[in-house]
Subunit: 552 residues, 2 copies
């Protein structure tokens, strides 16, 4: 193995306190290879370069990629990392697009790819849970449930079927069903600490505990929170709660033609969410977001100019028949409960939206068969709408889809390939995801700032607003571009920084941070000092994902 | 001030590493007095002895009681404790009956009574939350909401109106509404660390954060769990989410005449809870628990003998018209939703229960006025039932009540005083609260073990089972006795230890631990080592509540 196989051996050696010519990282590689076999210690340039590539500019190098197959192997890898003071950076499926993909927060981290640890360890139909390892993907769990003809639904995030379930939970991602706040619907973690020691959370730490998979808090301090958005441990097992398929499911879709309808819309939805009439997350997207779901950038209409101006956007809206704001959500329950929720929703949105449509399995099947006739009867161009609605409809029933991922190719000049890989394909994507109280005025302020800044920097102000809990809205703002266009990486990052500054000045902080934005973690001195003290206590050699969600 | 005012000054001095005759704790008392004033540094024997008294035998002494009025004063108290290495033990209202009341887990801790920190700091009717200090009681919040004619309901625990809200949340207590899992419905903690430093959780750590009171997780590691059931910090502020009063509320009460109906009952209720048809906790109590809610021990019928034998219990059941198992829960929603939930509940419980009754405000008012007529019409002795039902009905609407507290006087030979104080009045009470998966077989095993052991040790096997989450049951087993009866303290503790041993051998662990039971915390080595490392990092002088939820 060549020295360059370790990226920057001099730096690593310095960390280990050894002279540069002894290259302790070389020794680490040797020991890792002895444990994992040469096939699972990847040092070739092509693979390393791929892993060093995100959807925005990064400079971090990855000296090697380790692929342990089990928790024991992982623990051994971590112990070796400690022995030689080589920093390691774990990823589950590594599909953290828009936030850094697989790229470590700091330079010269050895990547630990957990995708081979992909067993479904436990499943209980009656108590409605599944226990998984970090390599288990959305697609895998969905197929598992289908195979068993389970009446349980998972909650899927609208990213890719190949995303890790655990990876998304520990990043506190969200989905579309009543279990949409992912981190609130899990328990019983097994964690490998930065020293290689193993810890279980909740009741799982007790021998033969009966309630380890059904009750989160356990006895004593509750530790799950420490291992989400952190560099304090690697989650190697987690129980994810599933929802029983309801007797009846119905989706709703609504549309507001004017931008200024957003605030009253949020005000109208909040009581329904607070009262449990709407039990799931509700997603609201602006016109730019919807258009990026329908097609790529309209290069012809714009004659190749960017960004897409609001005036042209308005024309496209009326031509393609979508609103300034479009929304969707699911109604879950008995037939009677769903009917009652429909009634309440209709009453609440009356005068607030320009269109409100309901869709269930029967109508979807019917409409798919008779789209033309339906259009004739109702004037609604159903086939196009159905193509758009079907994946969203599926997500509300926990069916993973690849469709939203195509949006990452928005600014590309060729169509998305059949096997999409935004990192490989030079898709530019930066996400900022501020949380706001569920009040119209906040939504309005965030939309306004986003609109102004993104257009100013030459990007389309694409926003979604998810009523993620009973009281809060998660806004996802996408800065979407083509990394192959010269200068765009810098321009996008400048735009991100400006957006972040203006939003945080107004008190809107992101619920999730990209690897380029970890300095946003800091906040007050007290929190910083506390997390730092815990990091030192838990990771004395600072080998685990240095810089990741770590205050400075 | 006399030396004995500090309990065991020699021990304290040793802790501080100073010779015994210098009594650093005396110096600490001097400095605390300078900060708080002499009125709020309590060293008189009567008050100390009262604070040293729980509902079971303890030996811990309390050298002094500090009563800070503000967070600043509290921080100063903690800094002084560090200066002189004097351990301190915080209580909010100190009403942790059955788990140790105000008595510290270790000897010679100075008590910090937070009841003067009782401000309601923020309130938002639209977003449905309130932000409180640790001294704010259930009664205070209820009155606050009434005064404002708020349409928000709090969740009350069935202990006492004088209980601290924060105290109950950090102990992870539970209540009766859809917000019954208290720890799941809070966010934005402010915490004073064992060093005196201040930390805020979630978004609250950021300047001017808008979403600090509405979104729990924030960005980066989530820390709330560290400060529940722990000795890692003192929670000095917390946002508690409130539920909007539903359009309609209806309570249900059911009864099973035979013990063996428990398992099928739980099986019938689980799908309703999982499907969100029952959105709140459901409480099921056995005959012994119900009887203790109606009256004190039947000394006459038993001719003074204890325990109350199952044969006599069966006679009392049929005379007083209650079942082997009695249950209650609430239905919340629109009129249509409640009607739909009633239908589903009736269908699910058909053949599983011997009686199922519904009660709403209208029927309660009507029944209260026409109880006799109603009895004539329905054969149901309403007035007695109403007396029992009213407080439970109120709890389901978030109305605190003192009624369940009277149960602590079960074995006393005189009636409960108008101002109840179980510690002062020698009420013996030990609680063990195992969590089980929501399956009939688990409930049956726990009920069986409890029945056998408690009767064997001479106590009544009083059990409640709360469907606390969608998948789990919290069982509360009461060992209730008269501390003034010689030998009963020892007998009760022996019973507790036997019960704990047999239940944990079967894998049923308590969700909450009394001060006498902290060794149950231990579990696996990994968890122990991790919590210990954090304790050392966060509390280097080990001044905060040593031993409390601390693995050994």
């Amino acid at each position: 193995m060549e020295a360059r196989g370790l990226g920057n051996p001099a730096l690593l050696a310095e960390v280990a306190g050894a002279p540069a010519d002894q290259a302790p990282a070389d020794q680490a590689i040797e020991q890792w290879t002895a444990i994992l076999g040469a096939n699972h210690v990847i040092v070739d340039e092509r693979n390393r370069t791929a892993a060093e590539t995100a959807t925005f500019a990064t400079t971090q190098t990855i000296p090697a990629i380790l692929r342990p197959a089990s928790r024991d192997e992982l623990q051994e890898c971590i112990r070796i990392a400690n022995r030689f003071r080589v920093p390691v950076y774990p990823v589950s499926s590594g599909k953290n697009w828009g936030y850094g993909s697989r790229v470590p927060a700091a330079d010269a981290n050895v990547l630990i790819d957990l995708s081979r640890m992909n067993r479904i360890l436990d499943f209980n139909e009656d108590l409605a849970y599944v226990t998984v390892e970090p390599g288990v993907t959305q697609r895998q769990l969905f197929a598992f449930l289908q195979d068993r003809q389970s009446r349980l639904w998972m909650d899927a995030t609208g990213s890719s079927p190949e995303c890790s379930l655990i990876g998304n939970v520990v990043e506190r991602g969200f989905g579309h069903t009543p279990y949409g706040d992912h981190f609130a619907h899990v328990c019983g973690f097994e964690v490998v600490l930065p020293t290689g020691a193993r810890v279980e959370t909740g009741f799982c730490r007790f021998p033969d505990a009966q309630a380890g998979a059904v009750y989160r808090w356990g006895a004593g301090p509750t530790l799950e929170g420490l291992f989400s958005q952190s560099n304090l441990g690697i989650v190697t097992r987690m129980t994810i709660w599933l929802m029983p398929a309801p007797e009846h499911f119905e989706a709703f879709f609504f549309q507001c033609n004017r931008e200024e309808q957003l605030a009253p819309l949020i005000e109208a939805l909040r009581p329904l969410r607070l009262q449990g009439i709407l039990r799931s997350t509700v997603h609201i997207a602006n016109d730019y977001k919807v258009l990026a779901g329908i097609q790529q950038y309209p290069w012809q209409e714009t004659k190749g100019e960017t960004p897409l101006r609001p005036e042209l956007m308005a024309q496209l809206r009326s031509r393609l028949k979508f609103g300034a704001w479009s929304g969707s959500g699911g109604l879950y329950g008995t037939r009677g409960q769903v009917a009652e929720a429909k009634r309440a929703l209709r009453a609440a949105l009356k005068g607030k939206v320009d269109r409100l449509q309901f869709l269930d399995d029967r109508r979807l099947a019917f409409a798919s068969r008779f789209a033309k006739l339906y259009q004739f009867m109702t004037g609604w161009d159903l086939s196009k709408t159905l193509d758009l609605a079907r994946p969203v409809y599926g997500l509300m029933k926990g069916v993973p889809t690849e469709q939203p991922l195509a949006g990452a190719y928005w600014r590309k000049k060729s169509v998305p390939p059949s096997s999409m890989d935004p990192d490989r394909d030079g898709c530019g994507l930066l996400w900022y995801a501020p949380i706001a109280p569920m009040e119209g005025r906040h939504a309005e302020v965030i939309a306004g700032i986003t609109h102004r800044i993104l257009l100013e920097y030459g990007f389309e102000p694409s926003i979604s607003m998810t009523l993620i809990t009973e009281r809060s809205v998660a806004c996802v703002i996408s800065i979407c571009y083509d990394r192959r266009e010269p200068g765009q990486d810098d321009q996008a990052m400048a735009c991100y920084l400006r957006l972040q500054r203006e939003l945080t000045e107004q008190g809107y902080y992101s619920y999730r941070l990209g690897i380029q934005a970890m300095s946003e973690m800091n906040g007050s001195d007290g929190y910083r000092a506390l997390v730092r003290a815990m990091k030192e206590a838990i990771d004395p050699n600072s080998v685990l994902a240095p810089g990741r969600y770590q205050p400075t």
